[in-house]
């Protein structure tokens, strides 16, 4: 069959083992869609708090200003986050501290459980130096998690500081919070 090309279809593809047939716009659209991001979610803490090194358990909210999740999104209870499906997930976590002049550093950790929350392991940690002259400080860290059993591998976040420090939450800005994106299958 001769190759036929018009505004919506390419017909007659039968070269080198390619199946003979018709590639129409629906096929192309479905194929393209499968290449788009399937899951993207973003959460943040919406109130200030003080802590040294502790789990961030309260005041989490899904980002809701100029943002809407892609896909199913994560579920959350008391700061414990559950992925909606198995796969490789990029996670980026930022933590914002201010008026913490008494401490030398602040930071944050991303932790994941491999036993349904029985215990958690640190998967990444970021610290930033802080001095008496520093008004505010921000630490940011990123990791990729291979979630092979989403229900048994919840994730949580912790603050890091040598003594009690102030951390900033915001309801319109991503100051202390994280984003996550599924980048592939497990």
């Amino acid at each position: 069959m001769a190759l036929s090309l018009n505004a919506t279809t390419i017909s007659g593809l039968a070269v080198g083992g390619l199946p003979d047939g018709t590639v129409d716009t629906d096929t192309l659209a479905a194929s393209t869609k499968s290449m788009l991001i399937q899951e993207f979610d973003m959460w943040r803490v919406n109130a200030d708090f003080t802590a040294s090194s502790a789990d961030i358990t309260a005041n989490w909210e899904r980002a809701d200003t100029n943002f809407e999740k892609v896909g199913d999104g994560l579920t959350q209870s008391s700061g414990i986050f559950t992925f909606p499906s198995n796969g490789k997930w990029l996670v980026g976590f930022s933590i914002y501290s201010w008026n913490a002049g008494e401490v030398d550093y602040i930071g944050g950790k991303i932790l994941v459980s491999n036993n349904s929350g029985g215990s958690y392991d640190i998967r990444t940690e970021a610290l930033t130096s802080h001095s008496a002259d520093t008004m505010s400080a921000n630490a940011y860290t990123i990791t990729c998690l291979d979630i092979v059993d989403a229900s048994a591998m919840p994730m949580k976040f912790q603050t890091v500081a040598p003594s009690t420090s102030s951390f900033n939450g915001h309801t319109d800005q991503q100051r202390t919070g994280f984003w996550t994106m599924k980048v592939g299958d497990t």
């Binding site: 919406n46 109130a47 200030d48 708090f49 003080t50 802590a51 502790a54 961030i56 358990t57 309260a58 005041n59 909210e61 201010w98 008026n99 008004m135 505010s136 009690t164 102030s166 900033n168 309801t171 319109d172």
Partner: protein, 107 residues
Amino acid sequence: MDLQTGRANHIEDYLVTVRTGQWFGWSDSKNKVYANLIVHDGGSKPSEADVNAGLKKLQDDFDALDYARKRAKEYPSIADQLDDIYHNGIDAWKATIKTTKDKYPKS
């Protein structure tokens, strides 16, 4: 809190000084007023008067140290001050420092 100056400008700045941890939150995080303040830890909720007074004290304390912040920005570096003492002596160094102190007197 004002990010540029560090001056308290919201009751949240006072609330974090009341107790440690994530003891409070907001029933409407888009409207952080006293009426929407909620308590997570089972402890007492400070009165609105206490919260407002607490914020005002933070602001007053901050404002009272305005002279000190301005002086700190204008003092020569420690290295330069040591160099000044070495080359010109204590009296000359004190005169240099006094220039800034006089420019921003304690209020």
